[in-house]
Symmetry: C2
Subunit: 191 residues, 2 copies
């Protein structure tokens, strides 16, 4: 009997676009990668979200992820969780802060789930492109994330940067909606 | 080259203790399983947390999980996320509410991460044993979970039940601490 496991697959094309060790020197270069991953995921039927974990001072890439909710059938598999989890398994530490100074670069602000996941990941920063209203404008539900979410992360030593290539990332969200993409998490279920 | 993936392994002993399809008729029977999984995980060096996803009306088990943070090197791998993710992959749906009426039974109240993950999981209920102060009393950090967390879940059609076998679950937490177990997430990192 093979061991039972939960699998989140990282497609080969993600690894090709975002090879471990490649260097993305500044915030815009890092975000250009995250947005390109989101865009490429849409072209393959996935959700319009991409993310990467990079070393803060060098921009060296550790891991990249895309939304795998539909492909893997897992609600947890948002791009942020995929990238942070792959980074942790690659570096052999459930706490990235124990092995270096890393940040998460994501094509959209974290939803309530990814907000919660950030606290235990060990990233020291999160850099965002599209804002929650951009995702909500095309029908995605961000959940009851606290209004002061950035402050709550700051209080735990996680720096927050917003609006890096916001328009480019919002355009990918609109493109997904225009193509008739599946809007999962479309608001409260019927009780 | 093998496909790259994030893996959360479900140990054989978990599957043996909690076979898919077994029936746990009431809240206490379901929680006795979650607490027994937590206790057994401690005996194997894991975190003191167990969880299960069951069909609400029948008590039929879909999936069980234990804390795999240390074993798999993943901060996301709390027992609740492991059980909900395995249930989703077994039932072939990232939204459990689309395929039935399921609840999460967990040996401890959700932390900020698992609170966030509940919204997109599709469970219609969450049943908890130990309270957050019980976990905090032995050094675990629950993060900035909103004070009205249960109300926020209720508003999304997720029923919350607390204090089922609370003392039994709290005893497992104290046992873990007494054995010198690794308290990961021990509070805010130094900025």
């Amino acid at each position: 009997m093979p061991p039972i496991a939960v699998h989140i697959e990282i497609p080969d094309w993600v690894t090709a676009m975002a090879p471990q060790g490649a260097v993305f020197p500044d915030a815009e270069a890092r975000m250009r990668l995250a947005v390109a991953l989101a865009d490429a995921n849409v072209a393959r039927g996935g959700g319009p979200f991409g993310a990467a974990v990079v070393e803060r001072y060098s921009g060296r890439l550790v891991a990249a992820g895309v939304n795998r909710v539909l492909a893997d059938g897992l609600s947890i598999a948002h791009a942020e969780v995929v990238a942070m989890s792959l980074a942790q398994q690659r570096l052999g530490s459930f706490d990235l802060s124990a092995v270096g100074d890393y940040e998460l670069v994501t094509s959209a602000e974290p939803c309530v789930q990814c907000f919660g996941a950030l606290f235990w990941s060990g990233v020291r920063g999160v850099v965002c492109a599209a804002r929650s209203p951009d995702a909500e404008a095309v029908g995605f539900d961000e959940g009851p994330k606290p209004a002061d979410w950035a402050k709550l992360l700051n209080a735990r030593g996680i720096a927050v940067t917003t609006d890096v290539l916001r328009q480019e990332a919002a355009a990918v969200l609109r493109q997904y909606a225009a193509l008739g993409g599946n809007i999962y998490n479309p608001g409260p279920p019927n009780p």
